[in-house]
Subunit: 137 residues, 2 copies
DNA sequence: GTGGCTGCAAATCATTTGCATATAC
DNA sequence: GTATATGCAAATGATTTGCAGCCAC
């Protein structure tokens, strides 16, 4: 908890219980939750929390570059605390998102074909190994 | 028009006027339209067309791998007929999507870390060259 | 006439917004 | 007390669904 406390302090974000809990939750896992998933997880700990607070918190964390949002083809925005650029794999069957170890385009040179680059996100889609096994392929 | 006619025939998709027009529209440009943009463009040609037909057509084209959907952080699904894997650049200011010439991960080896790969999409985000100029940066 | 398209309207679902209350310093 | 955070409810906007009419073969 110390760590997330510090992250918020360093960014001049008031460390409320809700914000600490949400960031803690994001830091503790390697899943890439949606706002809805975060809301459901938080409710177990803070039954009175509202979706508004979840969205507000995600917005402020994102604006300070503490988290990134990733877009995959399921209509929901997912969030990731791993701010290092890396590829994802999105399973079209179970909708889980995995991190991949592949080398990524470097953003050092922040200009590509005249455009100023801020960020990169790459994802593969397909069937994950668990679903492959389940379907005994 | 011949070309899109053939594409639909080869895939056993009944080549209705609406479907031909939508696919023609997608084939003719390098923009990466959303369903809404396609609907608006179609209305000029077919004033009676409905959004349902646009969505239905996109769904059937996608299921035959004639088009791909791409997800960028604007909450709308964009569509792309360029089925060759390539990177995109998404401008967070004007929301335009550009194609990039960079080399992409090859999908030949269709297994990565145990997952079966069907597709790849990578996008950079930032400020495009037009918006940079407009802001005279 | 039967199956498959089309199109309207309503439903759904993620996200945003307005506002009123609560909390912290 | 004032600013800021929270939370409810309503609004928005993309997409989906149910259903009725229509068209082609």
């Amino acid at each position: 908890m110390k760590k997330v406390q510090n992250i918020l302090n360093e960014n001049n974000i008031k460390p409320t219980f809700e914000r600490l809990s949400i960031l803690q939750y994001l830091e503790s896992g390697t899943n890439h939750p949606t706002a809805g998933m975060i809301y459901e997880a938080m409710r177990k700990k803070i039954p009175t929390i509202s979706k508004t607070t979840v969205y507000n918190t995600l917005k402020i964390l994102k604006s300070h570059d503490i988290i990134h949002s990733i877009s995959v083809p399921d209509g929901e925005t997912h969030y990731d605390v791993n701010t290092q650029v890396h590829y994802h794999f999105y399973c079209t069957e179970c909708h889980k998102i995995y991190n991949l170890e592949l080398d990524c385009p470097q953003l050092e040179n922040k200009l590509i074909e005249g455009h100023k680059i801020n960020n990169f996100h790459g994802y593969f889609t397909g069937i994950c190994k668990k679903c492959l096994k389940k379907n005994n392929n």
